[in-house]
């Protein structure tokens, strides 16, 4: 099939439509606005609904209503807007409703700026909202991967009845790359016997996250914990790049991982045994990727577009068995390949420790 040139944000929209998403509720924010622009055109074409809400708080609660009524539904935003959605995301997780939330991360904290960043890693992977809950987080690194992962995102949301976040950044949203869309398939949305769609002669259904009796809430929390454990066991995803024999392993996701691939290539050309682990699921964190390499790898260097957030998960995974270093740029500044190479050379073979 022919390849076409597509912008990252638009690819999210097309990927969602092809994954059977028919409802979008959102509020404008840079750098993700091309996605709502695209869906405002595209969803009516397929009999869906695009609705611009009055705020992110309203958007995520519209998602709650639509998801509880049985729809495949999505919203998208960036940093400050995702902060406003956190209350709703906690409710969605508590009520076990499937939905997809896109965060094209910009620089923070506060209003920060609209430049690409990865500074919402903690917020995405550690909860963000209140209570004991988890959100599955997917981090694509190319426009093609966006298309492929949107289907995965909606399927995971349904399989586990849980919100799924797709985390990118301004670069990924804005850049254009050739993509293969593939055949448009008829999507069968899995049955939703739990959805509250009006009784229509059936049993009463309730969409709820309130458990006023402590014993009952503990049971609910434990049930969620078992689900999260299952997800952690089954759904770790990552990409390995030139890991064979690597003595220094880079760990990076999304845009930072693309830069790190160039770093790996340059280092390998110079005879340095460097490889890359690129987490595709940020939660569950792909701990399984580390076990096979930890024997040979002497040290790890985590590269992020923030001041060091995923590095904490790498440290937890490596658990003191090897030293873990960090290099990052923030505020919308990018880690330049040459700088990362310099950092690698400082660490490789143990110098500079």
């Amino acid at each position: 099939m022919a390849k076409i040139l597509m912008k990252g944000n638009e690819a999210i929209g097309e990927g969602a439509v092809r994954a059977g998403c028919r409802y979008f509720f959102g509020y404008p924010i840079t750098p993700q606005s091309e996605l709502p622009h695209y869906l405002a055109k595209r969803l009516p074409e397929v009999g869906g609904v695009y609705l611009q809400s009055e705020s992110e708080t309203a958007a995520i609660n519209m998602v709650y209503g639509a998801a509880g009524a049985g729809a495949r539904v999505m919203t998208s935003s960036s940093g400050p807007g995702i902060s406003l959605m956190q209350e709703g995301i906690s409710y969605l997780a508590g009520a076990e409703l499937p939905c997809v939330i896109v965060n094209m991360i910009r620089g923070g904290p506060g209003l920060g700026n609209i430049a690409p960043a990865q500074s919402d890693y903690f917020q995405a992977t550690k909860g963000g909202g209140h209570g004991d809950y988890r959100v599955i987080v997917l981090a694509p690194a190319s426009v093609q991967e966006i298309i492929d992962l949107m289907q995965v995102a909606f399927d995971l949301a349904d399989r586990y009845r849980n919100p799924v976040m797709v985390a990118g950044d301004g670069i990924l949203g804005q850049m254009m790359e050739p993509v293969e869309l593939g055949e448009e398939k008829e999507i069968q949305i899995p049955p939703r016997p739990w959805a509250a769609t009006g009784r229509m002669g059936g049993e009463k259904k309730l969409i709820n996250s309130l458990y006023i009796v402590p014993e009952e809430l503990e049971q609910h929390n434990l049930k969620l914990a078992r689900k999260y454990a299952l997800i952690a066991e089954r759904e770790q995803r990552w990409e390995e790049y030139r890991l064979g024999g690597a003595k220094l392993v880079l760990v990076a996701f999304g845009t930072a991982a693309r830069i790190c691939k160039a770093v790996v290539d340059r280092c390998r050309e110079e005879g340095l045994a460097v490889g890359l682990i690129r987490p595709i699921t940020l939660w569950p964190f792909p701990q399984k990727a580390f076990e096979p390499v930890i024997g040979e790898a002497e040290r790890f260097l985590v590269v992020e577009m923030n001041l060091g957030q995923m590095v904490e998960d790498v440290r937890l995974t490596v658990n003191g068995r090897r030293p873990v270093y960090f290099y990052g740029r923030c505020g919308g500044m990018l880690p330049v390949a040459a700088d990362v190479v310099r950092e690698v050379k400082k660490l490789y073979g143990g110098e500079g420790q």
Partner: protein, 248 residues
């Protein structure tokens, strides 16, 4: 023998958690009677709020959602956009609708969302311990206005029915009271009209119900009803503030 009074099908036969003399129970019953009479029970979806009526989802026997504080209109929007042929209603208190959820209610009305809002105005945040609500009357004592609500400090009470009636998306806005039987009958008529407006796809409909909270007002039930009639009705005029021609 002919049965002349029975529990509505749409309400479950279980005791409620409301205080003695609380009028939430009366309003529940009215909504349930209307759902029964319009024969829409099977396709009705309710949205319960945060506040004293948070457990409304246990009492209404139709499908229900529990929404976060103030967000019921957004949740109802999501439901109705997915299921336009269902009947959707929210049930919200004045803290819920007129404070934290002001944005959601104003914009749901402005969009002309085709659901019905039952808005309980008891001039107080009841569940959290009797704090001032946006609807608390000037001079009214609450736990956070111990000297009485002062307009210089807290501004003026909000008249929701009037406020929403000026929006083009609002098809029906009424204010009723449930402090005596005659008013209860009128309240039911308004609630029925609001649902009929939704069924006719005319736009957003809201019924503001002046309601008593004897517990947080610190009054015996009968006196609470009297206080409502004497103090709330003069500030919150009853009547249909907006209605489409079709429902007369």
């Amino acid at each position: 023998m002919k049965k002349v009074f029975t529990r509505p099908r749409s309400l479950k036969d279980i005791p409620t958690h409301y205080c003695p003399g609380c009028t939430h129970g009366i309003v529940h019953r009215l909504v349930a009677e209307v759902i029964d009479e319009l024969e829409i029970f099977d396709r009705t979806i309710g949205v319960a709020p945060v506040g004293c009526s948070v457990f409304a989802y246990n009492y209404f026997d139709c499908d229900m959602f529990q929404a976060s504080h103030g967000r019921a209109p957004a949740v109802a929007t999501g439901i109705k956009r997915v299921l336009p042929d269902r009947v959707v209603f929210t049930y919200q208190g004045d803290g819920d609708l007129a404070a934290i959820g002001t944005g959601e209610i104003v914009h749901a009305a402005a969009r002309g969302e085709k659901f019905t809002v039952i808005f309980i105005n008891n001039a107080i945040y009841a569940m959290t311990g009797g704090q001032m609500a946006p609807t608390t009357l000037l001079g009214q004592k609450t736990t956070t206005t111990p000297y009485g609500r002062d307009k210089e400090v807290n501004g003026y009470p909000v008249k929701i029915a009037e406020m929403l009636s000026v929006l083009d998306g609002t098809a029906y806005a009424a204010r009723v009271s449930v402090h005596d039987p005659a008013h209860v009958i009128k309240a039911k008529k308004a609630i029925k009209r609001a649902f009929e407006v939704q069924l006719a796809n005319l736009g957003f409909s809201i019924v503001e119900v002046l309601s008593a909270c004897p517990t947080n007002w610190g009054l015996p039930p009968a006196e609470a009803l009297k206080w409502l009639a004497e103090n709330m009705i003069p500030y919150y005029p009853l009547g249909e503030h907006k209605k489409p021609a079709e429902v007369g």
